[in-house]
Amino acid sequence: MKRPVEITFAQAINEGLHQAMAASDEVICYGLGIDDPKRIFGTTVDLKERFGKRVFDMPLSENAMTGIGVGAAIGGLRPVMVHQRLDFFLLAMDQLVNSAAKWHYMFGGKRSVPLTIRLIIGRGWGQGPTHSQNLQAWFAHIPGLKVVMPSSPADAKGLLRASIDDNNPVVFLEHRWLHQQMGEVPESPDFRVPLSECRVMEKGVDVTIVASSYLTIEALHAVRRLREEGVQAELIDLRTIKPLDWPTLLTSVKKTGRLLALDSGAAFGSVAGTIVARVASDLFSHLRAAPLYLTMPDVPEPTAYELTREFYFGAPEIAAAAWKMVKGEERSFPELEREGHHDVPGQWFAGPF
């Protein structure tokens, strides 16, 4: 039974986990509900059946379970832990920051911590203030952590394999709105997408747009529309947030002279802010316009349908900001508004990318 060329993001994760566990006995997987009927949005299907005690459900003890992952890692395993929402993982910051991130450094390089932590970022259907946080900036602020945010099924698989191979603690962020997305994914167990290499998704000379995770999808719509209107945006999907692929990013901005950095996290202390700051510092004389960022406001996510209606920005706002930067004039792109309910992934969303 050959598997289809296109599979979902969730299936890609699942395939990556199967292949990683088959390739090495050192890989173990655990998390709340990992073997329950829902299988973490389908990402852990059949793992328990195939790998037995190397896959297990756990108590509601996020901090200890993270430390246990660190211990298992320095004990010779390669644990992959998963949480259904990033927000729950706030209970585990001591183990993440004081143990996992620093272990290799503070013990003089004696032992590294090959631990992969999958966190799912929620959005929509009333996820509200405590089920929708985007804290990539937090993780990226901590020396010693790697932070990965795939935006396509192929990257999900390839980056996950690379994360599990990696000898450092990796925070692997999956946006809930991407799980059902379809895409071509190499079936080979050798397939990897290296960490710390961003992807130039669309070439262009007028402006560099930097995106990651779900925002890459929104940005892609904006960039295609801009192209129709004669603006050539270069779209960079970060893929790895930390360590960031600065050379590719800086090269692009040198070429375009304009930067629009997108971020699904709050503005203050954001990854987008970090990118704008570095570009402004290092490439000041190359800039043809003020570098900009679009981020979420410094406000928690509200729950109600009506309150989230205009809360998130997407393709229309991205296109408008890029247009303004390149053309110096206001323009709106209502045709880029998503159809249907704004609080669930839309129709085109299941599309080929």
């Binding site: 009927p37 108590p59 509200g128 203030p129 109600a304 009506e306």
Partner: protein, 338 residues
């Protein structure tokens, strides 16, 4: 043997909780309540038994599955429904949804969606009460899953050290989402005995036996008001519907065949009706009348909420800080200083 008026309060609470929950479950598939909802159907017993025992000035907190606790504490049904519908008049300003309920007017201080999150908050309420010399209690509703969080243990420890007036009510419904106790807690371990060993008085009971629950808690609460320090109470009970959402999920097979059916025979509502008829001289007609009265109220509440306007969109940006009620901070930009 509940005091005369208390039996009626309890029966009323049972009808109310069940009625509202069924009302929500029935309407939920229409897609107007667009937030995660965790139902209390099958678990009405403990909240109802406590309804006449909790004073308005007792302060309660709860978790993701809070509807029953909120209503048992006397919270406004309309404000709760408006919150779940995301309408104006929602108890949390349409910003919290079903998982974040509050009604300060009756001492329901808040329920939150991170498991275990309100446990220390309840203990902090107990600290405030103690510091003020009040004889009110702080009441913490939690599940069998929540006790696995380290913060539960830390909170129990502190309540014990300071002898705070905190009543922990643990509804052990055997599951955390789809996970049975097996992968979560050691086989054969008793939660309440463990808590006793942590240093606070602990009791246990059948949470579906409302009369017995009332009796037990009547004594416990009276003792607590005289300054006896914290108490932990564990009640066995069972949720009938899926973990989150209005559907049955028995077909998924994560619960033993027939387990749910068995628990349904021990339904708290029907059992208490029977108790009132057999032990308190209630007639079927009296029960029926009370039930109809409550259901009529509920129907009006749903009608009211469905007619409520949507909240103004700028409310999304209000009240991030205490002082900027009504002031909107800029969207997609850094906050600006006052």
């Amino acid at each position: 043997m509940a005091e005369g008026s208390d039996t009626e309060k309890i029966m009323r609470a049972l009808y109310l909780i069940r009625g509202v929950e069924e009302g929500i479950a029935q309407r939920y598939p229409a897609g107007k309540m667009r937030c995660p909802v965790h139902f209390s159907i099958g678990q009405e017993g403990v909240s109802a038994a406590l309804a006449p025992l909790m004073r308005r000035d007792d302060l309660a907190v709860s978790s993701h599955r809070a509807h029953a606790h909120y209503m048992g504490k006397g919270g406004s049904v309309r404000a709760m429904l408006a919150e779940i519908y995301g309408r104006a008049g929602g108890c949390s300003g349409a910003r919290g949804g079903s998982m974040h309920l509050i009604d300060e007017s009756v001492g329901f201080k808040g329920s939150t969606a991170i498991v275990g999150n309100t446990i220390p908050i309840g203990v902090g309420l107990g600290l405030a009460l103690q510091q003020k010399g009040s004889d009110s209690l702080a009441i913490v509703f939690l599940g069998d899953g929540a006790i696995e969080e380290g913060v539960f243990y830390e909170s129990v420890n502190f309540a014990a050290v300071q002898r705070l007036p905190v009543l922990f009510i643990c509804e052990n419904n055997l599951y955390s989402v789809y996970s049975p106790l097996g992968p979560r807690q050691p086989a054969g371990r008793s939660i309440y005995k463990m808590v006793e060993a942590m240093g606070i008085k602990s009791v246990a009971g059948d949470g579906n036996d409302v009369a017995a629950t009332y009796k037990l808690m009547h004594a416990v609460i009276a003792e607590m008001r005289s300054g006896q320090g914290p108490v932990f109470a564990e009640f066995s009970t069972y949720r009938w519907l899926e973990h989150c959402g209005p559907a049955d999920d028995d077909h998924l097979g994560y619960r033993a065949q027939g387990e749910c059916a068995e628990w349904k025979k021990r339904a708290p509502v029907a059992r208490y009706e029977k108790y009132l008829r057999e032990n308190e001289g209630w007639s079927a007609a009296r029960l029926e009348a009370l039930r109809n009265e409550v259901l009529a109220d509920i129907a009006r509440d749903f009608a009211w909420v469905e007619a409520q306007p949507l909240p103004p969109r700028p409310d999304a940006y209000r009240e991030v800080y205490a002082e900027d009620a009504g002031k909107s901070v800029g969207q997609n930009t850094m906050e600006s200083a006052a």
